[in-house]
């Protein structure tokens, strides 16, 4: 479990800190890669145009939807469009509970949709369950090959 990395794509520092804290509280000691917006996340995952990405892919991406430059849905679309990343589990972690956002997220291939609770304790709970499920219980096809 320790060698599995989590990517958090989040533009809000508060949310980022709180997410990190929530994960830590549940002793999720995995390496955490932080991208501060969609562009940064895509650069890390699939590289700049014309360049091959060298970075190790994370085991799980926690993706915010509302971000400057490239928003979460676009990031998701591109992840799923790229052969290297198309099977990566992506959990949408966002403030919105708009029906539209939920539907579109799943349509773009999100594996899960979680709304950030305001109550921090529930946030911690959610983060715990997320990491437990996606990092411990869930099996991915590419893991077997690597």
């Amino acid at each position: 479990m320790e060698n599995k990395t989590i990517m958090i794509v989040e533009d809000n520092q508060d949310d980022l800190d709180l997410t990190m804290r929530a994960l830590k509280k549940h002793h999720v000691l995995n390496e955490i890669i932080v991208a501060r917006d969609g562009a940064e996340a895509l650069e890390y995952l699939i590289g700049r145009e014309g360049k091959d990405p060298r970075n190790v892919l994370p085991e799980l991406i926690l993706l915010d939807l509302k971000m400057p430059k490239i928003d979460g849905l676009e990031v998701l679309r591109r992840i799923r469009a790229h052969g290297r990343t198309k099977h990566l589990p992506v959990v949408i972690l966002t403030s919105s509970d708009e029906e539209n956002d939920i539907v579109e997220s799943y349509e773009h291939g999100a594996n899960s949709y979680v709304r950030k609770p305001v109550d921090f304790e529930r946030f911690v709970e959610a983060a715990n369950q997320l990491s437990l499920y996606w990092l411990v219980l869930n099996e991915f096809p590419h893991k077997k090959g690597s």
Binding site: D15, S95, S96, F120
Partner: protein, 808 residues
């Protein structure tokens, strides 16, 4: 002798001449006078004039002889007074008297004989005539077409009967002779077949009449036109008419009768036919619905049927003495009329009557003559009559017959029609909508003021007689319109126009047709038109009516509305973006507040006094509540934006389901609920579920502290919303609970977002539920209101359909 008498004067004069001649001859030859010569005239006088002539001539012979002697020269005194003269004269007188007497006797004898001869001649003649007459009479009797019998006895036995009599009754001569007339008469009380074809019973009336006639006959000895019956040999009754005369002897004693009998079968039959014909005519006249009145030449009514009596309000007994003038109204009088009007009879009325009467006398009849009859109750009845003058065969006027028809109803209908027409005229003229009527050729026959004003024409004559193309757009192009915009009229416009016309002729009417009319000044007016083709009873097209409305204002409103809709859409979009950002951006700081407060408590809690920690907890609680409020607010705004899908919903089933969910979330509570079965409504199912969820959830919540909570959902039609919308008679749903209720004073705040009538400590919540409910109801065009009392419960009423409106 007769010849002598005839020529006696000549004879006597001749005798005088012979006397004078004889006297002269004798005197001449013998020389002396011959007074005896006077014997000639004396005898002649006696023969001619009888006794008195003889004597007178004898006396006169003396002076005659004397005169002759003097003339012959004899001395006057000597000769004249000689004795011979006087004696001779006396002898002459006697001679004359004798001859005269003789002659008289002869005359008497002759005349007596003549008289007897005459009498004999006359008698012979009479006898011959009588014989001739009797022969003729016998022939007449024998051959008379009338039956004749003669009875020369007082018992009435028939002695002779002619052929006609025998034929009449079918007997032979020997059978009839000696029979009494009474034996040929029918028996009282018996019924016979009659030659007329009827069956006749000889009743008392007949017998009484017979006896009466018989008495009359015995009294007067003669009877004429006596009608009675005889029975023929076959026993058939023969109606006859008879004249009977008694035969009397010299002492005026009746010695027999002669009867002349005529068979009147034919006449009886004709009379019966005539009676039937009369009865038939009578029935026709009497049963005629139309009034029939017949007057004589003086105008006196001689016949009127029941219809006429009813019309006039007369009884049959009133009729005698009535004249046509009795039902003529008087000039200058004012009457009430059966039509309900009040009518004054003026000169014009009488001029009209006079004209019709003149025509009737000229042409013999007049038809469809309208007049007023004065009823017995002094009311006028308008009538229509056909009158015909009746003439006798000599072409003299003997009366008139009038067939009269009460036209009150027609007049009333005409009056009503007139009123209706006026009414219609007023409506058409005062209509705010424009109205145009055209004939079957499409030519305008009528326009109202509104249309003239719309098209800027001054007088109906500007349009009447023209085709509607006078104010139609006739060419493609760009036109100025009354909405203030320019409009392009293209080929589509004319195609639509042709389509509409085709549809109009196919269906007979066309509604809400939108077109342009061209005003006199060339500016187009947008109009909406309904056109109906007019047809007569045979379905033939007689024209069309168009009702036209100027929709300039509406068009302007539509444009305005379109602008507003665009604006609204933009606003909605903005609102959506706003909501989205609210959901994201407003919550993120709250998470920060909550999360970091918790972090402080966790990491530095030990450094803080209890109070500090408590405050941080309060910060967290406040931020969480705000998050809740934000969420609810978002939900509410989503309801507004959500598209609706109307479908039929089983409200009862839906409510049961919702209630079971609520119960499942709070399984410890015992709430009695009743949901009226079979409620259904056409609405958006998702929204209605939210609505019911909110209302039932509310009821659940506010009965939380009630001992025996009861929640009820039902439908009623007998409730009216006390304030704004009358919804009487409409289906109104209600959800009633016996919870804490509320003070109606706060009812107004009830449906506003975040307004609460209870503290969150008593009953948790954000105050968005009823605002949500109201929004859902409003989106369905319905209305929601509450009725409550503190501690007695609350009832929420709502409808889910639009108010009924016209034209949809």
């Amino acid at each position: 002798m007769q010849r002598l008498t005839k020529h006696r004067n000549i004879l006597f004069c001749l005798s005088i001449f012979v006397y004078i001649a004889l006297f002269y001859l004798i005197f001449h030859f013998y020389g002396r006078g011959m007074p005896t010569a006077a014997l000639v005239p004396v005898i002649a006088a006696g023969l001619c004039y009888g006794l008195r002539g003889g004597i007178l001539t004898g006396v006169l012979s003396f002076p005659a002889n004397s005169l002759l002697l003097v003339l012959c020269g004899v001395d006057w005194p000597e000769r004249l007074l000689g004795g011979g003269g006087i004696a001779g004269t006396i002898a002459l007188v006697v001679q004359g008297a004798l001859v005269g007497r003789l002659r008289d006797l002869d005359s008497s004898l002759r005349s007596a004989r003549n008289t007897i001869q005459l009498e004999i001649d006359e008698r012979t003649q009479s006898y011959n005539e009588l014989k001739k007459a009797e022969g003729k009479l016998s022939a007449i009797i024998k051959n008379s077409p009338d039956a004749i019998y003669i009875s020369e006895n007082t018992e009435g036995r028939i002695d002779r009967a002619n052929n006609a009599f025998l034929d009449l009754l079918g007997y032979r001569t020997e059978e009839i002779e000696g029979t009494r007339i009474a034996d040929l008469s029918p028996h009282p009380g018996s019924t016979y077949d009659c030659t007329t074809g009827e069956k006749v019973t000889i009743d008392d009336t007949y017998l009484e009449h017979l006896m009466e006639q018989l008495h009359l006959f015995f009294e007067k000895g003669v009877i004429t036109n006596w009608e009675f019956y005889l029975v023929d040999k076959q026993g058939t009754l023969v109606p006859v008419e008879s004249n009977v005369v008694s035969l009397l002897d010299d002492r005026q004693e009746r010695i027999g009768d002669v009867g002349i009998i005529r068979d009147i079968t034919r006449r009886r039959q004709e009379e019966a036919t005539l009676r039937e014909t009369y009865a038939f005519l009578d029935n026709i006249i009497e049963s005629s619905i139309d009034c029939i009145v017949i007057s004589d030449g003086t105008g006196k009514i001689i016949r009127a049927n029941t219809s006429f009596l009813n019309l006039m309000g007369w009884n049959k007994a009133d009729l005698p003495g009535k004249a046509t003038s009795d039902f003529s109204p008087f000039c200058y009088e004012t009457y009430r009329c059966t039509t309900g009007e009040t009518i004054t009879i003026g000169d014009d009325y009488f001029e009209g009557m006079h004209e019709q009467l003149t025509r009737m006398f000229e042409e013999g009849s007049v038809s469809n003559w309208e007049a007023y009859f004065l009823r017995s109750d002094k009311m006028l009845v308008p009538v229509e009559q056909n009158s015909t003058i009746l003439y006798n065969p000599q072409k003299e006027i003997i009366g008139a017959v009038g067939i009269i028809h009460d036209i009150t109803m027609r007049r009333v209908a005409e009056n009503r029609l007139h009123e209706a027409n006026e009414f219609l005229d007023n409506i058409i003229e005062s209509s705010l909508d424009c109205i145009a009527v055209s004939d079957k050729n499409g030519r305008i026959t009528r326009v109202n003021r509104a249309l003239l004003e719309l098209l800027r024409y001054d007088s109906p004559d500007d349009l009447i007689g023209r085709l509607p193309s006078a104010f139609a757009v006739d060419d493609e192009g760009v036109y100025e319109t009354t909405t203030g915009d320019l409009v392009t009229v293209g080929r589509d416009y004319f195609r639509k126009s042709v389509d509409s016309t085709n549809r109009l002729f196919a269906e007979g009417h066309i509604s809400n047709l939108e077109f342009y009319f061209k005003r006199r000044d060339g500016i187009l007016v947008p109009i909406e038109e309904n056109i109906v083709l007019l047809t007569d009873k045979q379905g033939e097209r007689t024209g069309a009516v168009g009702i036209i409305r100027d929709i300039t204002q509406r068009k302007q409103n539509e444009l305005e509305m379109m602008r507003q809709r665009d604006q609204l859409e933009a606003t909605n979009k903005e609102l959506e973006a706003f909501s989205y950002s609210v959901s994201h951006d407003l919550r993120a700081p709250l998470r920060g507040i909550d999360g970091f407060s918790q972090a402080v408590i966790e990491d530095y809690g030990k450094l803080l006094p209890d109070e500090g920690r408590h405050y941080l907890e309060r910060v967290r609680a406040a931020s969480q509540r705000m998050a809740l409020l934000i969420d609810d607010l978002l939900k509410l705004s989503r309801l507004t934006r959500r598209e609706m899908h109307q479908e039929k919903i089983d409200l009862s089933a839906l409510a049961r389901e919702v209630f079971q969910n609520i119960q499942a979330a709070d399984p410890h509570r015992q709430v009695h609920y009743s949901i009226q079965p079979g409620l259904s409504v056409k609405a958006d199912k998702t929204l209605v579920r939210v609505l019911i969820d909110n209302l039932l959830g509310n009821a659940w919540k506010y009965t939380g502290k009630t001992k025996h909570p009861v929640i009820e959902l039902g439908m009623t039609r007998n409730v009216t919303r006390p304030d704004v919308h009358p919804v009487s008679g409409k289906a109104v749903f209600f959800i009633r609970d016996n919870g804490v209720g509320f003070d109606m004073g706060y009812a107004e705040k009830l449906f506003s977002a975040f307004q609460r009538l209870h503290s969150p400590d008593d009953f948790p919540g954000t105050g968005i539920g009823l605002a949500t409910a109201q929004r859902i109801v409003h989106r369905h065009g319905g209305t929601i209101w509450a009725d409550a009392k503190p501690n007695e419960g609350a009832t929420f009423y709502f409808t889910l359909q639009e108010e009924p409106s016209y034209g949809k």
